[in-house]
């Protein structure tokens, strides 16, 4: 029996939606398999996929790390991680089956012999598990280690071997560089070692159900698209707030800051999805084309002092507990000028969005963890009521809540019951949890599955990454000489951020 992958399996039918699409038999090779990301996200996601029956018959999880572990040690580690982190109930028999295809390879990234062993192990797995040469490499390692690992893969032919059958893909996590120059270097390196279409850049926000629902909301309905433009939209606010501090990432964070850490990737991606034109079809390339067009059209305000505000948290109270200020966090230099909050006004220079400001903000130690996109509509051009009747009427808003409580809120005016005519804002809530509570898959679950399936729809490509840096670099340049504003932990950021909107006659929505 030949083992070629046939694209025309007669048992499959696009109309047959009871059968999930399973990836080809393949190996998922995790570099840095003993790290935090692997333990908290990747391994639990792999377990959840196995539990849902979405992994192919020949699947191998291969851990690569420096520790002196055997396959069994890694299996024990992975089991603990799955038990702790999995979304679906832990079932012994599911684990037993998965444990049978867990492998571990010890090695340092500069260890030639280890990579030779990896190459021969993959060949072995081809025989024992029939993976057909298919492998996805997940680089769960510091970016500084990328070049050496990639070169090793190139040397050993792991990355792509034109003669060998099967696909080779690589998954990389942010940060994708720290400015345009470094991003270009990294992209050139990765795209050179793998093919550009084999590179999957994870932005886990794009794996969230609501973000994908943005496509459905905009392009499957007639209700929203006609008003999705500057004629009806007053402004757009995109917020990603975290209540946590910098945790154990002090060293990394102090070099990076909120703008590079969040604004450059997550927020600009959300902006692109909100502002993009309709793609000609729902495919990876067509969607990327439209996103890239928007990113190219993003403009910065001329008055950066006013419209690009950054902040740094001071000590304060959050959720009933006293928390330290940024400068008092461990391993942060006392004179650090790194921002933990950034709020910027962007424009999108297209016919659809001319004159509509896009306010983006992100911060740490804000009152609660929330990510949302809020479309604020213009006020009705004429109100046939007395002024006092509509004193409490605000702008109509459509809010897409990315997390938590994924869903959509529509805010509009409604008459207060009673004899007087009084119009006030009410909110109509759509919670995914209500209409479709098929327990929502974790972002990583979805994204790992997409990598194995070869579906790049939810992954930004190199051009998008470079374009995002083109937007962020002038901000960083402007901020290089300034000191961030202070804000107390547990508040919604520095006063300058509020003043920025007040100057435009607007105010931030409290998420």
């Amino acid at each position: 029996m030949a083992s070629t992958v046939s694209s025309t399996n007669p048992l499959r039918d696009p109309r047959d939606r009871r059968l999930p699409r399973l990836p080809d038999a393949s190996a998922l090779v995790v570099f840095g398999a003993t790290g935090d990301l692997s333990r908290k996200k990747l391994i639990p996601a792999v377990y959840d996929l196995a539990n849902r029956g979405l992994l192919p018959p020949g699947f191998v999880l291969l851990g690569f790390a420096r520790r002196d572990w055997s396959d069994e040690d890694f299996a024990v580690f992975a089991r603990e991680a799955a038990e702790k982190g999995a979304r679906t109930p832990f079932r012994e028999e599911v684990w037993d089956r998965l444990a049978g295809s867990v492998r571990f390879l010890r090695g340092a990234f500069d260890d030639d012999a280890a990579f030779d062993r990896l190459a021969s192990l993959l060949e072995e797995l081809d025989k024992s598990h029939g993976i057909g040469g298919n492998a996805a490499f997940y680089l769960s390692i510091p970016p500084s280690a990328f070049p050496v690992v990639l070169k090793q893969m190139q040397r050993t032919g792991l990355a792509s071997s034109p003669d060998a059958p099967g696909w080779r893909r690589v998954v990389i996590e942010k940060p994708f560089g720290h400015d345009l120059g470094s991003a270009r270097e990294l992209n050139a390196l990765v795209d050179d070692v793998f093919t550009p279409s084999g590179v999957y850049r994870i932005d886990h926000y794009l794996g969230k159900e609501t973000v994908q629902n943005l496509f459905a909301l905009r392009f499957a309905n007639t209700l929203f698209e006609p008003i999705w433009n500057s004629q009806f939209v007053d402004s757009v606010q995109i917020t990603m707030a975290e209540d946590v501090g910098i945790g154990t990432r002090a060293g990394f964070y102090d070099e990076t800051g909120a703008a590079r850490d969040v604004l450059q990737n997550h927020l600009l991606q959300l902006l692109a999805l909100t502002a993009m034109e309709e793609p000609v079809s729902f495919g990876a390339e067509t969607i990327r084309t439209e996103k890239l067009k928007v990113l190219r059209a993003v403009s910065l305000p001329t008055d950066l002092d006013r419209y690009a505000v950054r902040g740094q948290y001071e000590q304060g109270w959050l959720a009933g507990e006293r928390v330290r200020g940024y400068l008092d966090e461990e391993s942060i230099p006392a004179d650090s000028r790194t921002e933990t909050f950034a709020a910027v006004r962007f424009g999108v220079e297209t016919r659809r969005w001319a004159g509509v400001p896009f306010y983006l903000r992100t911060g740490k130690r804000l009152p609660r963890r929330v990510t949302e996109i809020s479309i604020v509509f213009k006020k009705a051009p004429h109100l046939p009521f007395d002024e006092t009747d509509t004193a409490e009427l605000g702008n109509n808003q459509l809010v897409i809540r990315v997390q938590p409580d994924e869903g959509v809120t529509l805010k509009f005016g409604s008459k207060v019951p009673g004899s007087a005519m009084e119009v006030r804002d009410v909110a109509m809530d759509f919670l995914f949890g209500e209409a479709f509570t098929e327990a929502l898959p974790e972002a990583y679950e979805r994204l790992i599955l997409d990598v194995l399936l070869g579906d790049a729809t939810l992954f930004p490509n190199n051009a998008e990454v470079e374009e995002s840096w083109r937007i962020i670099d002038p901000l960083e340049e402007h901020w290089a000489t300034t000191t961030p504003h202070r804000y107390r932990a547990g508040t919604w950021g520095p006063a300058a951020a509020d003043e920025m909107l007040a100057a435009d006659g607007r105010r931030w929505r409290r998420p």
């Binding site: 083992s3 048992l11 018959p57 209409a435 509570t437």
Partner: protein, 358 residues
């Protein structure tokens, strides 16, 4: 929770809106209404399954228990609850006796969630013709379970004869995990098989549908071999000359995929409860063309998928039907035309089906 004894349909509607107001902030994003038709003795099982399914797909749950059609006085008892023992959503259990049981739609119609799709599920012997039951006529999707019929194969044949797009049967739903594994195993194969064998009890309707599906997709002869198990499907084997590809159930939770020249693989194949099956049915509200084709191939009835999805209610009184003998059974005329057509099928089961239907 509100319990209403010897009540009327309008009282039930009022009680439901009162419960909705009392639930306050819990405004529900209703995606559909699920109507469950069930016999008194199966109520507990149906309630359990519907509760589980409705927690995955929040819906308004309307459980209709028909009993004692021959009772002298029509009577309606109802229980209305939101976020109670029947899951997080809105639920109404209605017990109807006397002639009211034949007019259940008069109580159910005003309770349907506005403009949301309706799914009717019979956790009971399926009706001979769905058009006889008004609760099936207004539904967008109709879910039966021929396994509950005294003669499942005759019932399955009757489903084919009476088929309209939007009908599905849990015998098909039970097959999804098997089809998933076989399709996944087949992904890596480029040859067409010569024959296929399903190992299961001959009277197992899922095995018959499996055979129908495989014949439809692969155009190869499919036989059903009696297995050792409890009549459930225990294996499926495709033969390619001397080679074979088999999926074999190893225990209640997993199966082995074995393929000539490759090591065996163990994969999950869980036996699913009624609630999980129902949840799968509620996931898609459009008609299942693949089921129609599999059922059509099995029954040798042509063009099931292109039939009209619209049904007119046919007045059917089981009490007069009893008095006049079972003339109704042959109304599903497929049984008589099907008898000869089915003979061309490959499995012995089809012949049984025709025998039972005629």
């Amino acid at each position: 929770m509100t319990t209403l004894w010897d009540t009327s349909g309008s009282e039930v509607v009022k009680a439901l809106s009162a419960e909705r107001r009392a639930a306050g902030a819990l405004a529900f994003g209703l995606a559909l209404t699920l109507v469950v038709v069930v016999d008194e003795q199966n109520v507990a099982a149906a309630e359990g399954a519907a509760t589980l399914a409705s927690s995955a797909h929040p819906c308004r749950l309307l459980i209709v228990v028909r009993r004692q059609i021959d009772a002298p006085h029509p009577r309606l008892d109802a229980e209305v609850s939101i976020g109670g023992r029947l899951g997080p959503g809105e639920a109404v259990v209605m017990r109807m006796s006397g002639r009211l049981a034949l007019h259940a739609e008069s109580v159910v119609l005003p309770l349907l969630a506005p403009d949301a799709p309706v799914v009717t599920w019979w956790h009971d012997e399926p009706p001979t013709r769905i058009a006889y039951d008004p609760l099936g006529v207004f539904a967008d999707r109709r879910v039966t379970d021929v396994a509950l019929a005294p003669d499942p194969l005759a019932a399955l044949y009757q489903r084919a004869a009476d088929f309209a797009p939007g009908d599905t049967d849990l015998a098909w739903t039970r097959l999804s995990p098997w089809r998933t594994l076989l399709a996944a195993a087949f992904d890596a194969v480029s040859e067409r098989p010569d024959t296929a064998v399903v190992t299961a009890g001959r009277a197992n309707p899922s095995a018959q549908l499996f055979a129908g599906w495989l014949r439809n997709r692969l155009a190869v002869p499919v036989t059903i071999e009696e297995g050792s198990g409890r009549g459930t499907i225990s294996a499926v084997t495709l033969r390619f000359g001397a080679d074979r590809l088999a999926v074999t159930r190893t225990d209640s939770r997993s199966a082995t995929i074995s393929r000539s020249g490759f090591p065996d693989r163990v994969l999950p194949l869980a036996e699913r409860g009624l609630g999980d099956l129902l949840a799968e049915e509620l996931r898609r509200l459009d008609d299942d063309v693949v089921f129609a084709e599999a059922l059509g191939t099995w029954s040798s009835l042509p063009n099931l998928a292109s039939r009209s999805e619209h049904r007119e209610h046919i007045w059917h009184d089981p009490m007069t039907a009893q008095a006049h003998g079972s003339s109704d059974v042959t109304v599903g005329a497929g049984a008589s035309t099907g008898g000869s057509a089915v003979g061309s099928g490959s499995g012995a089961g089809e012949t049984e089906a025709a025998g039972g239907g005629a």
